[in-house]
């Protein structure tokens, strides 16, 4: 007999469901994701630090746990909410179902709640904190209300600098890890880059010491303003005019370093279907996103920054080109713009910036 489990939201709403995976009590920010696949990748998505994703698609775990897609990475989300989890997954790479995996990795799961009702609550009231527990006596409304995701970057960045080699490397990249995805590093290697991955707290001189052709700032979770040290580093790096590519939190911090501000979105963008428009060409791309904050473009000096992409649903900023330095940044996964034969103009742009730097 599976145990009853509960989600208690910050606003007092209680959802009664069942427990799966590990049993326990977890307080976190509850965020919803509308993608229909990708629950395995989400487990290692550092943006989920301090958060519990709830998936809108009701059948989670259909293809079980695929170790290859976890890539040996740390499990990030605090807990996990699914309407139904699948005890008989099917996929040629599947090794186990999500329940046993969650138990083994101490991930608290809640299922058999009406996730659609929960998502509508989050949509209408904004992202909220919540507690998942099997024990109602542990409910602490004050603790739920006071919860904040803290030191997110510090907790997901690499502890030590390391190098991802590349055969016949054409470029050397310094990557400031704010919670980078392994796949991004592999993509850069694929473009002929030797990638030096730095902890988020690395000072500018250490980064410059490897004499990089380009800088990538990528990740991650939490509130942008929690990272004043990284913003300072970016400010120090700016005068060096090294080609710079900011992604996700990196996009937000680059904006802060250039005098901009970020604001919280009502319920974030999390899913695989977010349309972004290239403001120059008018082309629209469907992107994967996972973020709760957005850069306020009006806070940036128009003479040094130009909005390059906007979200066609809510008009928020999805990318910035910097006019005074060779830098640009994106809020979404660049895979959105990938074309036939794996050509991606966004990565190519960064590569050609580095080529320009070399030729100059």
């Amino acid at each position: 007999m599976t145990k009853k489990a509960y989600l208690i939201l910050q606003n007092g709403d209680v959802f009664e469901g069942k427990s799966f995976g590990a049993e326990g009590t977890v307080i976190s920010e509850i965020v919803f994701n509308t993608a229909m696949t990708g629950y395995v990748e989400a487990l290692t998505d550092k943006s989920y630090y301090g958060q519990t994703p709830v998936y809108s698609f009701p059948l989670i775990g259909n293809y079980g746990i695929i170790p290859e897609d976890l890539a040996g990475q740390k499990i990030i989300p605090s807990a996990y909410i699914a309407k139904h989890w699948c005890d008989t997954p099917s996929n040629f790479r599947c090794e186990e179902n999500i329940d046993t995996f969650f138990k083994a990795n101490n991930i608290v799961g809640l299922c058999e709640i009406d996730t659609r009702t929960l998502i509508k609550t989050l949509r209408d009231n904004g992202t909220m904190n919540g507690m998942i527990t099997t024990d109602l006596s542990k409910v602490d409304h004050k603790a739920i209300a006071e919860y904040r995701v803290r030191d997110a970057v510090k907790n997901v960045t690499t502890r030590v600098k390391y190098v991802v080699p590349c055969k016949d490397a054409k470029f050397r990249i310094a990557l400031l890890d704010l919670g980078v995805r392994e796949t991004l590093i592999q993509t850069l290697v694929g473009y002929g880059c030797e990638v030096h991955v730095f902890p988020a707290s690395s000072p500018a001189h250490e980064i410059l010491a490897v004499n990089p052709d380009g800088i990538v700032i990528a990740g991650g979770p939490g509130e942008p303003t929690d990272n004043p040290d990284v913003v300072q580093t970016l400010r120090s790096l700016k005068p060096k005019n090294i080609p710079t590519f900011g992604l996700r939190l990196g996009h937000q911090l680059l904006a802060l370093a250039n005098g901009g501000v970020c604001r919280k979105l009502p319920h974030g963008h999390r899913g695989g279907n977010h349309p972004v428009r290239n403001t120059e060409t008018g082309r629209v791309y469907i992107s994967s996103q996972n973020h709760g904050f957005t850069v306020d473009p009006s806070s940036l000096d128009g003479s040094i920054a130009r909005v390059s992409f906007i979200n066609t649903n809510d008009g928020t900023c999805e990318g910035i080109d910097y006019l005074d330095t060779p830098a640009f940044s994106l809020q979404f996964e660049p895979d959105a713009c990938q074309g036939a034969n794996n050509k991606n103009p966004l990565y190519e742009r960064f590569i050609s910036m580095m080529e320009g730097g070399k030729n100059a």
Partner: protein, 1064 residues
Amino acid sequence: MPKYESVKKVLVIGSGPIVIGQAAEFDYAGTQALRALREDGLEVVLVNSNPATIMTDQAMADRIYIEPLTLTTVRRIIEIERPDSILSGLGGQTGLNLCMQLAKEGYLEKMGVRLLGASPETIDKAEDRQSFKDTMKSIGQPCIPSKVVEDIDSALEFADEIGLPVIIRPAFTLGGSGGGIAYTRDELYEISREGLDASPIRQILVEKCISGWKEIEFEAMRDRAGNAITICSMENLDPVGVHTGDSIVVAPAVTLSDKEFQMLRRAALNIVEALGVEGGCNCQFALHPESFEYAVIEVNPRVSRSSALASKATGYPIAKVATKVAIGYTLDEIPNAVTGKTFAAFEPTIDYVAVKFPKWPFEKFVYAKRELGTQMKATGEVMTIADSFEMAIMKAVRGAEISLSTLRMPKLEYLSTEDIRTKLSACTDERLFVVYEALYRGISIEEIHNITMIDEWFLSKLLNLINYERSISGKMLTEEEYIKGKQLGYTDSSLYQLSENPIRYFRAPTYKMVDTCAAEFSAETPYFYATYDDGDNEAAPFTDEMKKPRMLVLGSGPIRIGQGIEFDYASVHCVWSLQRMGYEVIIINNNPETVSTDFDTADRLYFEPLTPEDVLNIIKQEKPEGVIVAFGGQTAIKLTSFLDKNGVKIIGSSADSIDMAEDRERFDALLESLNIKRPKGRTVLDCDGALTAAKNLGYPVLMRPSYVLGGQNMIIAYSDNDIREYMSIILATKNDNPVLIDKYLSGTEIEVDAICDGVDILIPGIMEHVERTGVHSGDSIAIYPAQSLTPELTERVIEITRLLSIGLNARGLVNIQYIIMDGEVYVIEVNPRASRTVPYISKVTGIPMCELAVRASLGEKLSDLGYKYGLHPSANTVAVKVPVFSFEKLTNVDTQLGPEMKSTGEVLGVGETVREAIFKGLVAAGYTMDVSGGVFITVRDQDKDEIAPIAKKYSDLGFKLYATAGTAKLLKEAGLEVSVVDKIHQNPDNNTKTLLDSGLVHYVISTSATGRDPAMDDVKIRRRASARRIPCLTALDTANAVADALASNFSEESVALYDIHEIS
């Protein structure tokens, strides 16, 4: 204003008659397209030969030609109308082929007509096998090893190179018509030849067989700026090998990990980019179940059956958006009407699963080969939505109207486990149920997977249902068990049957929304499905406040032979009429191909099965003033007594009226009291009773089960043997309903649709059938107005119609079929509901029959609505409805027409005279109207008196006559020159079959006393004719009418063309 400013007047080509592989989905798509064009202020001209459609309604376009979809006719319409543009992607394969041919021959350019939507280059890249392969190669998309060949030898040679089995796919055909899988060289030879014949350009693709791979589809959309999205992924439960139209399909794909999903999604986007698609596009992939290897199977750069499904599964209006894209809009400029907040440039995401289940015609065609393969055989489909696969498949099966309420098929329970195991390898329409039975018997998932290649995920879900059924068997359910059962999709009555205990609980469903975005944005025009979770009931905010009086309309479910698109036409018109009368209207239907399930047709749509519990739950949620059953065919009618017993108010003819028309004893009593004649008849329960009854009545007799639909299982018996064969088939179905035997009267068949307001009736028009009684009315050529009725008989028909309508206490539509014989009028049957001919007669008389019927049902009087009682004055033109069949898709089905309906669709022919109308109707139905070559004749004894004059007509036209010995003797006696042909078994080298293969014969006239059994020579001849696409006339009246049409000197160039606005 369209984005392309030069576009002012657009010609839209529809898809023509409903055939297997091209059905109601194109009425849905076409209707959306017409509205999208007119929304932009464009002048729209429509051509479509199918009168049963909503798109051909007067209000849908500025000019409407219900005319043949041939190159000549379309050219003539372009010359009359001078449109500046033509829309290619909305009329199915038929529309696409026509546009492409007009473009290729330079005609469009010459006439200054711009092709909107898919360009000829795009169409070629997708449809021409070789350029498709080249295109895929250029963007690194893998294809299955294959080769385009134009002769049999090359096919054999290539198969030697890649190894058997191989799949044969003919180029440019509907639903893979004429293709198949060849496991041996002999099969390859045979299928190649059929495929070459089926292809209009004599081209086939020989392809490595990858049966057993997963079949995954993506619907994509791209605009002129290159913005591209995928709308929906779909996974076929049946792996590659079964046509997707015959597969159980789930949206979204459920067994793909994110890697595989993104890989195929990206492939679909790259494909639409490479093809330069502007509009919707369907991409089919085969994915190896144990690796990342995949191949692109097929790409259709147009809206399709799959796009209709994807539309309904997600809420994204693909046809509308494709149309807007075709006139120059980019996706980010087109609003998403469901959310009202976002734009078409996004990918829908869903928080449920949708399951499509096909509807096959095999219950009508007992001898049809039920094996499924690359040739689509389903006539229709249902779709259901739920938050689990289990519940969705349960709803789909009970909504498919195949007499099942769970997945356990009673007839399989009697088979041994070994038989079940054997049956697993046969892929038929019943495979899901065989698999279920196999799981029930304890055959392992692994073993079933190895045999069927159905993914273990699906098998595990089926096992969940079985485990639940086992767990409650013979048990009083706890509340928890009851709710679990509801969540798995069981109805209360199924739970009662399974548990064999009374159900002590009741749980009402919570309705959830289809909103395209998984609740990320609030929705303005959502539709609903039932779940049994304990969250929000999202219908409540809409239903709680009664802003207007409310009515609920029942739709007609899946398209099947006998209950087709006509009933969707009627349901939709019922909805619109009620809305005009100020009602808030709710519709329930589960057919994703239809206009009735479009998100903005009714005020609210429930995508739910039309079964008692599901319907009653919705009624309880909505609390309508009344429920309208009269427009949804037998599907809705059969719910009447259940609803009536549950205190639901039925608007229109009451449950009692319907019962009086259907119950033989009550109906006979009514006829007697009114002094109206009908053929004498008996009711029997077994074979002996049937034989005795037939003896008393005298052969021939008409036999049918009571409570029939579309003449299902109806035959004319000429002998005791016929009765024995028939009764053995009927009794085997274990159906307890009695069998009706009537004296068969061979006379002129007359059909009337009337509207009764309780005081009197209005008859918009009387139809006369070309074929005498004995051919089902749905398969007959029906002429309006009736040509041979004397004024006295006309009066008598009007009078009987009035007496019966009033006598049955009917309100609204009444359909009556009559036989005229020896100056007497006999009644065959009366249906107090909308019939198949309502759209046809509405269009040719201009009388809004559905609206009048709705108003009459709600108490308005026809006289107050500006109509005179009695027969409406006839139009100046003559119209005919000509049936269209899908025989080439249904192996082993006898094509001889009889009392059992066989046609899948219909076309209209309009002319000044009967001959002109019939000529046009035949052209529209696909007859080439050749007036040279040969006619092969073989008729049964009872037709021999009449055949000679008909044969003479063909002979006089210059046809060479061929006949079998008996028929030839007669024709010679009549002074005709005729070549005798041996029967198949008489001479292996030179016989009726080789004659048909020789190409010398252009028409076949074949009737036989009995039929059906595919082993019979006559049936073989008719099948051969169908395979060779030779028109085969199986009723002498049809043969005579065709001869007269051929002799009429009309040509496609000379016949008049009518805008439907002008004829009525």
